[in-house]
C-alpha cells in the first residue's frame, strides 16, 4: 500500500521562529490534507491541498503532486502552534476516498 512519511518526527523551536514540515508519499494520490492535533486530541483541518499552494494567515502549504511531496510552513510560531501535525493522503477504495496518515511531526514551541 501507499507509504506516507513525515519529517522531522520532532521539532522544538522558540516562539517567533519559522518552520517547515515535510510529507513524502510513495504513489499518486487524489487528495492531501494537513491537520493539527491539539492537546485534547481534536484533529483540526489546516489545508485541503491536492496540488498547488495555499495560505491561511501564518500558515501556508505547497503540494507538488508530480514529485510526491507536500510542505507545511509555519511562520512566526506561537506557543499555541504546539501539537502534532499530520499529513494525510486520499486514495480511492471502491468509490470512496480513504485517508492514509503519516506518523506526524510533534512541534513544541517554547516561550
Amino acid at each position: 500500500g501507499i507509504q506516507v512519511e513525515q519529517s522531522p518526527p520532532d521539532l522544538i523551536l522558540q516562539e517567533g521562529a519559522n518552520s517547515t514540515l515535510r510529507c513524502n508519499f510513495s504513489d499518486s494520490v487524489n487528495n492531501l490534507q494537513w491537520f493539527h492535533q491539539n492537546p485534547w486530541g481534536q484533529l483540526i483541518n489546516l489545508f485541503y491541498i491536492p496540488s498547488g499552494t495555499k495560505q491561511n494567515g501564518r500558515l501556508s502549504a505547497t503540494t507538488v503532486a508530480t514529485e510526491r511531496y507536500s510542505l507545511l510552513y509555519i511562520s512566526s510560531s506561537q506557543t499555541t502552534d504546539s501539537g502534532v501535525y499530520f499529513c494525510a493522503v486520499g486514495i480511492y477504495i471502491q468509490g470512496a476516498q480513504k485517508l492514509v496518515f503519516g506518523q506526524g511531526t510533534r512541534l513544541t514551541i517554547n516561550p
Binding site: N31, Q33, F35, W40, Q42, G95, A96, Q97, L99
Partner: protein, 114 residues
C-alpha cells in the same frame, strides 16, 4: 450541527463486554468514515459509509467489529467481546461526498478496556 459530534467522549469497559460508539456527522454530509488512533498503529482507516451503505468492510480489525448507519445520518460502531488491544481513540469523520472531498473529524471517543 456545526461539526461532527461523537459520544461518549470516554468509555472504560471490562474485557469481554460489548461497547457502542456513536457518531453524528455534519448536517448534509453524505459520507461518513471511522478511524482509530492507537499508540502502536497511528491513525488507521476502519470503514466508510456512503448513505447507509458500507461497500468495503475490509478495514475492520476483526469480526468483533461492526458498524451501521441509519437514515443517512448517525452511525454506530459496535465492538463485541472487547479485548485490551481494542483500547484506542476512535475517530469519526464526514465529508460532503465520498469522492475528492475534504474530511472533517469529530473529537473522538477514548476507549479503555481493562
Amino acid at each position: 450541527g456545526a461539526g461532527v459530534s461523537q459520544s461518549p467522549s470516554n468509555k472504560v469497559t471490562e474485557k469481554g463486554k460489548d461497547v457502542e460508539l456513536r457518531c453524528d456527522p455534519i448536517s448534509g454530509h453524505t459520507a461518513l468514515y471511522w478511524y482509530r488512533q492507537s499508540l502502536g498503529q497511528g491513525l488507521e482507516f476502519l470503514i466508510y459509509f456512503q448513505g447507509n451503505s458500507a461497500p468495503d468492510k475490509s478495514g475492520l480489525p476483526s469480526d468483533r467489529f461492526s458498524a451501521e448507519r441509519t437514515g443517512g445520518s448517525v452511525s454506530t460502531l459496535t465492538i463485541q467481546r472487547t479485548q485490551q488491544e481494542d483500547s484506542a481513540v476512535y475517530l469519526c469523520a464526514s465529508s460532503f461526498r465520498t469522492d475528492y472531498n475534504e474530511q472533517f473529524f469529530g473529537p473522538g471517543t477514548r476507549l479503555t478496556v481493562l
